[in-house]
Symmetry: C3
Subunit: 152 residues, 3 copies
């Protein structure tokens, strides 16, 4: 339980596994790859962090939304694979930031997710990614992230 | 021909395999994964369902566009793998909705594709996905979907 | 060194391997798939091609930005796998064009990347893809592309 004790060191408690908004599943495993559905910044209690970065939220608030989003992704990942020590590599993130057309810093926002992954998984958490600005996300959530994970 | 008879039960006829808009191919198979290019809601005859959901189209019309888009994806999939019974799992959808900035229901639109997959493939059709709102899609199509499929 | 000599024939010199903008890595290999992070049109010297196609850039300028972006992707790919002759197939591109809401030709822009891949790799360069219009990209870059490559 190496990852679990790392989570405890970092005083991170994973949230309840979020429920999909519609007719799909939170994750699908094919071979040793897990595809995680797009997740949003659901807070404990079930409300979302909403709004556009650059208008309703600062970069720092967006960063926090990306961190919360990743906690939800990891909760789903744990439910899918049973034990986070099975993670061999975080392969790829697609990070989407709900933002104004003028906003040029989606990478600084998605770092909220990336920094968390590296803090928890170390080198195995270092991933490929894209971080881009979106026009409209479901229910006006501030951030949505999907990812691909390699497991043992 | 289990899937074909299911299609007949549902009175679904797959459209002609759509032609890519540019210098790419409709699908690439690597190992037992098939990557399907972004497809749009091409109608029989070759016209597209166009416009922005939330302005030019209702959610219901967007849902229908997503369903038509998935029929096109499945036509491409069948051309790629020969027999839809080889589908072991629909792994992942990335569903993009051409919509206004205020539109918050991309998931309700992309359900038009997801519901069809579950109707045809049952549990093997239950997939991971993201459903997001886009600024501008090729030729103003209302919906674009790309997907990853695991085959036997 | 088949690909290298093709590059020489085409008088193409790959740029310096670009540095990620934030806390991620340019590429991750899992099994025989390489996931390449979103890259932008970094020019030799480190400046970017920026702006919105349909307002600040013509389609032709966007096409050139997509070509430059792909050169950067290939530089990263070469750094990741050592020798471009290991490429068995370019599997999938996700091509994002920073554009106005009215712009309907993202495919014509992303062809700048697709045409280059086919010129260099021949049939192995023929890929699945999506080409879509984006609201906001990091640092206002004109094009961002991520890709999946199968290697031997």
């Amino acid at each position: 339980m190496r990852v679990e004790s790392k989570l405890a060191d970092l005083e991170i408690e994973l949230p309840e596994t979020p429920h999909p908004m519609a007719n799909y599943v939170p994750a699908v495993t094919t071979g040793n790859l897990v595809f995680i559905s797009g997740h949003g910044p659901t807070r404990p209690g079930g409300t979302f962090i909403t709004g556009k970065v650059g208008r309703d939220l600062t970069i720092e608030e967006g960063y926090e939304a990306a961190r919360v989003t990743m906690l939800n992704c990891l909760s789903t990942l744990k439910a899918e694979i049973g034990d986070l020590d099975r993670v061999r590599r975080i392969v790829k993130l697609f990070g989407m930031v709900n933002c104004t057309e003028e906003f040029t810093e989606p990478p600084a926002v998605i770092n909220g997710a990336s920094d968390l992954l590296v803090a928890i998984f170390g080198d195995a958490g270092r991933h490929a990614r894209s971080a881009v600005g979106m026009h409209a996300l479901p229910r006006s959530i501030a951030v949505e992230i999907e990812m691909v994970v390699e497991i043992a």
